[in-house]
């Protein structure tokens, strides 16, 4: 292959480095009307009345709108339409929107917000699972506070734990609420010209956003057009609607005027959904030789105020509860509980990330109990080709073990470059890893993780991508895709796939993306799915066009099309480069003969819905991705601070269409995983307000917090993906967090049960270990290695 597999420069890089790229917030023009949102004063309250008269009387205010002004269902939500555009009867979290103001300028809009009088009847806010499930708890929704559940019933875990297991470990692990914290704040504009409502706001799935906006605001779908501006990160945080309905409603009320809205960081954090905080009770049982036998898992998930993608996250949690390991008996229950916290929904890792922390943490506990090496226990249990994963889906290419080997080789090479590809030598380097540090209170630790991820929506949820391609009059290939670029490099991937499939130069490809009226639906940029889905759709469309072109070329070459190849825009006869034809010539010939130069393709692989009674499915996900990480940390046991010395991440991406972009995805995902492991946590006050809604207190990993992340690309071509590729987006985050936590556990000898492992939590964990007599002031491994 000449273009796929090459690290060509991403097509949007030059505009981005010069500041020319226009994100939603850059679309402001003088004369636009300003929109501002009034949010709930209470986390949980009935709305008694809203009086907007004082706000309306303020000079410069063009309109104030509440739920009664919304023409449609006034509801949105990706799975259940339960979230009001503007709250009507009740507010359920502090970020719930109650009214919008449209004004001539920002200051007036802000002032008008203060003049809106809302009378509430406050209820006691619910923040914990216990409060939500108390018999007398007020209900957030008519169905009650238990939002739903997912389960796995495979084998007989209860009996196996009792009778078959020779060792059982059990623990409760709590994960935190995490914010996506993309840097490009929610912002954009809208215009209603009396016929069409056009919205320029970044999301992750323009066509779904169009459906949701149309339904909520009461417009026919074809009268809503969504155009994605450049987007500064998403990570799941743009999957739910953000400001689309606010600018849409404002534009509808003020035809002919462009309206503009931009969140502050505080508002962005207060309004947006978050990563689910989970409480995971995990019981894992094994034989004395480390072979896993059974897992019993109960998960409580904080769903916050609205459903969002919660039920799908619960499914990802249940279906990934034993990771890439062979566990014959699995019993899992996942319950989603509504609280008055922010709604929780999609974020990179989508439930699989939290469960990886649990199963990897339990495996480390088992290894510790058994006195077994943490690499060894994983080797014994990772799936082999043709074995069933948690949901009983057979994994034909189970490359988790291969990823572990590659991570280990990379680890060893960093210490002894002569290891090369000698796995036995790498194993020896691993076994003699050093715990020596400058002082006994500085403890080193090594963590290992092996993870899996089912790509796409799965479970028969409609999952498809379409693409249209055509040669224009300048003989450029135009590719139309509804998929959104959010920073991951999708547009460049599309160029490479199209150029490779047609045998043309990448410079000849023009991509038109993410405009509901110009491009065919491609599904969301989420679930690690766009390289696989849109890559496939683009390839299918290009393959079709190529076949058509080769039929035309047959006349010229006088051979069957199978014997003609196109490369770099030139057609030649296979094995005879003497006779050649430029693609431009071929295109002219095709036009002369009336052959259409446009094709469209649909890629819609089938998955099979889980059975309700046991959560099993022969094909829950289209394909599975595997990865393995090794993390080396230094823990200052006096302060609880953790410094990451090395982090290695090996991922099977099928085929790296653009290796540099893949490495960028791995390094970025690992960094977010480090953030989740060590520092990021949304903290709610007792009134339901987020106490750290800003970057002063919500701490993101900076250049000082991450080492040079060593990304290892494993390529095990996936025959079902474009040129063997499948995906990379989420697994690097999923693998990173448990590897960091495992390394801390290794360093201090006891696990961290609640994350993030902030210095305070690490320190308290050490204090507790001391109190329980589980602490040695000097690690014997340190003594041994210092002498060495």
């Amino acid at each position: 292959m000449s273009i796929v597999g090459k690290s060509i420069t991403r097509i949007d890089a030059e505009e981005k480095v010069t500041g020319a790229t226009r994100y939603g917030g850059d679309l402001y023009e003088k004369g636009m009307l300003h929109v501002k949102v009034l949010r709930a004063e209470h986390a949980f309250a009935e709305i008694v009345s809203i009086d907007t008269s004082a706000a309306l009387a303020l000079p410069g205010v063009c309109g104030v709108y509440t739920a009664k002004d919304v023409g449609g269902t006034n509801r949105h939500g990706l799975i259940r339409r339960d979230q009001p555009v503007l709250a009507d009867t009740m507010v359920r979290y502090k970020g719930d929107p109650v009214a919008i103001v449209v004004a001539e300028n920002d200051d007036v809009a802000r002032e008008a917000l203060r003049l809106i009088q809302v009378e509430y009847k406050p209820l006691k806010p619910i923040h914990t699972f216990e409060e939500a499930l108390a018999p007398d708890a007020p209900k957030l929704h008519p169905e009650g506070n238990l939002m739903g559940g997912k389960r796995i019933r495979k084998g007989d875990a209860e009996r196996a734990l009792r009778e078959e297991c020779e060792i059982v470990v059990e623990d409760t692990i709590e994960t935190q609420t995490v914010d996506h914290a993309f840097l490009d704040l929610e912002s954009g504009c809208a215009l209603y010209d009396g016929d069409m409502l056009t919205i320029w706001v970044s999301g992750q799935w323009v066509h779904e956003e169009r459906r949701l906006v149309a339904l909520a605001l009461g417009l026919p779908v074809e009268k809503v057009r969504i155009i994605q501006p450049a987007t500064g990160g998403a990570f799941g945080g743009r999957e739910d609607l953000s400001i689309q309905c606010f600018v849409g409603l404002a534009a509808l009320k003020h035809p002919g005027h462009k309206v503009y809205l931009r969140y502050s960081r505080a508002e962005s954090m207060a309004a947006r959904h978050k990563r689910h905080a989970l409480r995971i009770h995990y019981t894992m049982g094994a034989k004395r030789d480390g072979r896993l036998v059974a897992a019993k898992v109960t998960v409580w998930s904080d769903e916050g105020a609205y459903a969002s993608t919660g039920i799908a996250v619960m499914r990802k949690a249940s279906s990934h509860c034993t990771g890439p390991y062979r566990v014959p008996h699995v019993w899992a229950d996942v319950y989603g509980v509504h609280t008055n916290n922010n709604p929780t929904g999609a974020m990179r890792g989508f439930g699989a990330a939290q469960l990886a922390i649990a199963y990897e943490g339990m495996l480390d506990r088992l290894a510790q109990e058994l006195g077994m090496d943490r690499v060894e226990i994983r080797r014994r249990n990772v799936l082999r080709h043709g074995e069933p994963i948690t949901t009983n889906q057979i994994i034909t290419e189970a490359t988790a073990g291969e990823c572990l080997d590659r991570a280990l080789l990379q680890f060893a090479k960093g210490i002894d470059p002569s290891v090369g590809d000698d796995l036995a030598a790498a194993q020896r380097v691993w076994e003699s890893r050093s715990y020596a540090t400058r002082a006994p209170w500085l403890r080193r630790g090594y963590g290992v993780s092996v993870v899996c991820f089912g790509l796409g929506y799965g479970d028969a949820f409609p999952d498809a991508a379409r693409a249209r391609v055509r040669f224009n009059e300048r003989n450029e290939l135009e590719v139309y895709t509804g998929a959104v670029e959010v920073g991951q490099g999708l547009l460049t991937m599309v160029v490479q796939v199209a150029a490779e499939a047609l045998g043309i130069e990448p410079e000849r490809v023009r991509v038109f993306a993410a405009d509901t009226h110009l491009t065919p639906e491609a599904g969301s940029s989420s679930a690690t799915r766009q390289t696989y889905f849109t890559g496939s759709a683009v390839k299918l469309a290009c393959d079709e066009l190529r076949e058509r072109l080769l039929d035309v070329a047959e006349t010229y070459f006088g051979v069957h099309p199978f014997e003609i190849k196109i490369s770099n825009g030139i057609l030649t006869k296979v094995g005879d480069s003497g006779k050649r034809m430029e693609i431009d010539e071929l295109l002219s010939e095709a036009r002369r003969r009336g052959v259409s130069l446009e094709t469209q393709a649909l890629f819609k692989p089938r998955t099979i819905r889980e059975r309700d009674e046991d959560g099993l499915s022969p094909r829950a996900f289209v394909t599975y991705l595997f990865g393995s990480h090794i993390c080396q940390v230094l823990v200052d046991t006096e302060t609880g601070e953790v410094r990451i010395e090395r982090h290695i991440a090996a991922h099977d991406v099928g085929k790296a269409i653009n290796p540099e972009l893949v490495i960028g995805q791995i390094q970025g995902g690992v960094t977010q995983g480090i953030g989740m492991a060590l520092m990021e946590e949304v903290i709610y006050g007792s009134d339901g307000r987020i106490l750290n809604a800003g970057f002063t207190d919500y701490i993101l990993p900076s250049v000082r917090d991450v080492p040079n992340i060593e990304a290892v690309i494993v390529e095990h071509e996936d025959p079902t993906g474009p040129f063997g590729a499948h995906g990379v987006g989420e697994p690097p985050l999923i693998g990173a967090t448990p590897a960091v936590l495992g390394a801390i556990h290794d360093a201090i000898g006891v696990p961290i049960r609640r994350i993030p492992a902030t210095p305070e939590r690490v320190w308290r964990t050490i204090m507790q270990a001391k109190a329980e007599g589980k602490w040695q002031d000097v690690d014997p491994r340190w003594e041994r290695d210092v002498k060495r």
Binding site: D26, L183, T231, T671
Partner: protein, 167 residues
């Protein structure tokens, strides 16, 4: 009130509100390459050079830069004629969503203008005020090193032959 500044080499007289921050003033002039990610001085997306020093323009009152020389990302180069540091960020693959990129480039410029061959720790220090949510920073370090070499070559001082460092 009136503000007299040079922006990207051009003398300007601007009418500003007394409380306006420099970032907003620049963006209202159409210089939207200066991004606003937090308005708390933490993310560094709004970084500009004020008399050669990198400053968070989201916190800096415009009134305080009277008489100053301001350089924004647009002042470094454009798509047709990019600055070597901008080229370096492209070559290193240091760009993903690109929102932090202008600020990163400004911080890099401030560093390399003063220290053509900074140590690893100095690079880390210089970039510690710029957050990136996408890249994991490794390729940004690469970009700084590539820029260092490009600039050394351009100034005829080819003494640095070090390979790109990693953090």
């Amino acid at each position: 009130m009136k503000l007299h500044v040079r922006i990207n080499g051009e003398a300007r007289e601007l009418e500003i509100a007394p409380g306006a921050v420099l970032g907003d003033v620049l963006r209202q002039l159409g210089l939207t390459g200066t991004k606003m990610g937090c308005r708390e001085g933490h993310c560094g997306s709004c970084m500009v050079l004020v008399n050669g020093k990198p400053m968070n323009s989201c916190l800096l009152l415009a009134a305080k830069v009277e008489g100053a020389e301001i350089t924004t990302i647009e002042g470094l180069g454009d798509v047709r004629n990019p600055h070597p540091i901008q080229e370096a960020f492209v070559e290193a693959g240091a760009v993903q969503c690109g929102f932090c990129t202008p600020g990163m480039i400004i911080s890099t410029k401030a560093l390399l203008d003063n220290e053509p061959h900074p140590s690893l720790e100095r690079v880390r220090e210089a970039l510690s005020g710029n957050l990136c949510r996408c890249t994991g920073y490794a390729k940004i370090f690469d970009a700084v090193r590539i820029a260092e070499h490009k600039l050394a070559k351009a100034s005829g001082n080819g003494k640095s032959t070090r390979r790109p460092h990693r953090p």
